[in-house]
């Protein structure tokens, strides 16, 4: 059972996050103040930490900086009501691994926590495989079974990202931030359109679909059963 440490002063938000995480099979420890949070974070027995930026008396970033100095490597998701791009960058620079702006969909939070827990190991393989799907990073070629896929560079990048995180829910915001490396919120359904392109190439109508669209949440790449 993965353990999550939640450092959040607003009890209502904390209760909601806790309930959702428990339901997903997490053991959750909750710290309502920065001091308590820092103490618990130092014990480093959590698998993932969720840290609110604005805690009474102490900035969440200070906690993260402190534990990073003490060589605690637990992945951290920073929560903040400050949406500024600068704040996001500061959060990541302080040692956070991901950053989520309030208000957020609970699904987005869970997806990001799962992603942190299952961060791809530093994979040096030059060929990625998921089921029949094969991606050659050196030759820049992709195939599904015997069928060669003709991918544009951006589609190749997207598929690579998804293959490294197979069977994980990837939200639109995550994809937009990580694959396109953009820090703004697109007003159009950009991710859906790009994903639609890739899907039409990866999943032909007669094939069992590998890219699944989870309504309202995001996308998952799975090997067909």
């Amino acid at each position: 059972m993965p353990k999550a440490l939640l450092i959040e002063d607003d009890s209502e938000t904390a209760e909601e996050i806790k309930a959702e995480l428990v339901e997903r099979g997490f053991a959750v420890e909750w710290a309502a103040t920065g001091i308590e949070g820092l103490d618990k974070a130092r014990q480093a027995d959590a698998d993932v930490m969720i840290v609110d930026r604005m805690l009474p008396g102490v900035d969440g970033l200070t906690i993260i900086e402190q534990i990073r100095k003490e060589s605690v490597r637990t992945p951290v998701l920073v929560l903040s009501a400050l949406g500024a791009v600068d704040d996001r960058i500061r959060g990541l620079r302080a040692g956070g691994d991901d950053y989520l702006t309030k208000p957020f969909a609970i699904g987005e939070l869970i997806a990001r926590i799962e992603a942190l827990l299952r961060r791809p190991a530093d994979n040096r393989d030059t060929v990625l495989r998921v089921g029949p799907l094969e991606l050659d990073l050196l030759a820049r070629t992709a195939r599904r079974g015997d069928r060669a896929l003709d991918l544009l560079p951006r589609e190749f990048r997207l598929l690579e990202y998804m293959m490294r995180r197979k069977e994980q829910l990837l939200t639109r915001a995550m994809l937009f931030e990580e694959v396109w490396n953009y820090k703004f919120v697109p007003t159009s359904n950009l991710v859906d359109v790009h994903m639609g392109r890739l899907r039409r190439k990866v999943d032909l109508p007669e094939e069992p679909p590998m890219i699944q669209n989870i309504r309202g949440e995001g996308f998952i790449l799975r090997a067909p059963a």
Partner: protein, 449 residues
């Protein structure tokens, strides 16, 4: 009466008085010096004239001659025997303290005759004669005394009216300043109380108060326009938020009353969530604009190669345009580099393209190009959409404004406000002009080829 202006009037008057007194003192001192040297020359000349007489009798004659024309009783002269007895002239006795052959000196003499009796202060020379007698020639400095009197009168007649005048002017200026300040005070108070049209009377003159009034009016204009714009934005936010929130309410209400199974309930809740997401997106966009508008940080600025960035935006939006069956052409042949924040510029250009694609109907065309225009690099997005009326050009970039023609198109109406905020932060220019459809441009100074 304790106002600053009044205190200054007093200080200036005092300084003025001191200046005048110093000036008169200086003039008097100079006049005195000049007259003394004149008198000294005169008495020395007269003494020489008398000494030129070779015999004692002739010298007596010359003294009498010298004293004959003496209307003001200013001239004195006498010859004294070695025992101090007066031989001739109008000085009663040898003045004490007068050195013989010592040059002109200031001494007190006792006059004889018509002017006699009283002691007088004079300039005098004494010279020893060959026969042992002493010649004394003297002259009063009555002209100087007269000048001193004149100056005293002039001071009385001049300084007092001047001071009175200065005082009056001070009181007048003080009153005027007070009135001006009170006017500003009243106007600003009325303005603060909500009368936004309140202004100071238009300045008639170019004096400091006129300029101050102009300045205050300028500030009031700016504040009024900000307040009105804010109120307008508030209305627009309320309106744009009400639409999705109403949908949320309707779908939740329907779910509560009508949903008979889980599927129906979920569908309604999904609708509600979509509505809430739209509301949140509006708020996020607003915060983002505020963040950019308030950002004064330029240290994130780097050299940005526009061609590469433009191609990336093109890459990002090409599938969107294609899905909408809008032809999309990207040309970025220029190698312009500008100084800026790449992420923000990307966001701005992406928004322009987003907007163009959104408002261009199926079968239309959108072009994204990087052009060189003199020293400027221009990112241009033109479309074959419905275009905008000339009167709307300014309004388009205002927050939330959406052209009436496009009220039905999805979107937040915030896109171009965001572009305008980013462009302003960079000190670039943003322009929208009616083309066949609409042409939006960002132009900024190229720093290198």
């Amino acid at each position: 009466m304790r106002s600053t202006t009044f205190r200054w009037t007093l200080v200036v008057s005092a300084a003025f008085t001191v200046c005048i007194l110093l000036m008169f003192a200086f003039i008097l001192a100079q006049a005195h010096r000049m007259m003394t040297s004149d008198i000294d020359r005169l008495i020395a000349g007269s003494a020489e004239g008398v000494v030129a007489g070779s015999t004692a009798e002739e010298r007596v004659l010359r003294i009498d001659e010298h004293l004959r024309v003496n209307p003001r009783q200013a001239k004195f002269g006498a010859l004294f025997a070695p025992d101090g007895r007066r031989i001739a002239g109008n000085i009663a006795s040898l003045p004490p303290g007068l050195t013989r052959d010592g040059g002109p000196q200031l001494v007190t003499i006792q006059a004889t005759g018509a002017s006699g009796g009283n002691a007088q202060t004079v300039r005098a020379v004494a010279q020893a004669m060959p026969d042992g007698s002493t010649l004394v020639i003297a002259r009063t400095d009555y002209e100087f005394t007269w000048i001193v009197h004149t100056v005293e009168r002039a001071l009385l007649l001049g300084l007092i009216p001047t001071l009175c005048l200065a005082f009056a002017v001070g009181v007048f200026l003080n009153g005027r300043a007070q009135r001006g300040v009170e006017e500003v005070n009243r106007t600003v108070q009325r303005f603060v109380a909500g009368e936004l049209a309140e202004r100071l009377p238009a300045p008639r003159t170019n004096d400091p108060f006129g300029r101050l009034a102009g300045l205050v009016n300028g500030i009031l204009d700016e504040v009024e326009s900000l307040i009105r714009r804010l109120a307008g934005v508030g209305d627009d936010i309320a309106h744009d938020l009400r639409t999705p929130l109403t949908r949320v309410r309707v779908s939740l209400e329907r779910a509560r009353q009508k949903a008979s199974n889980l599927d129906e309930l979920q569908r309604s809740v999904d609708q509600a969530i979509t509505g809430l997401d739209q509301s949140l997106a509006i708020i996020t966009a607003l915060l983002r604009i505020a963040e950019i508008e308030q950002s004064r940080r330029m240290d994130g600025f780097r050299n940005v190669a526009l061609a590469e960035m433009v191609r990336e935006v093109g890459d990002l939006y090409e599938p969107i345009a294609e899905d909408k069956k809008v032809a999309f052409a990207v040309s970025a042949a220029d190698d312009a580099i500008v100084h800026g924040d790449r992420d923000l510029l990307f966001e701005a250009v992406a928004n322009m393209v987003d907007n163009a694609v959104k408002f261009t109907p199926e079968g239309g065309r959108v072009e994204l190009s990087l052009i060189r225009r003199g020293d400027d690099a221009v990112v241009q997005v033109s479309d074959s959409g419905p275009g905008i009326a000339a009167g709307e050009v300014d309004m388009v970039a205002k927050r939330f404004y959406r052209s009436d023609k496009s009220r039905r198109a999805p979107g937040l109406g915030l896109g171009l406000s965001l572009v305008a905020a980013i462009v302003k932060l960079h000190g670039f220019r943003f322009s929208i002009s009616p083309g066949p459809g609409c042409i939006a441009e960002i132009s900024g100074h190229r720093i290198a080829a």
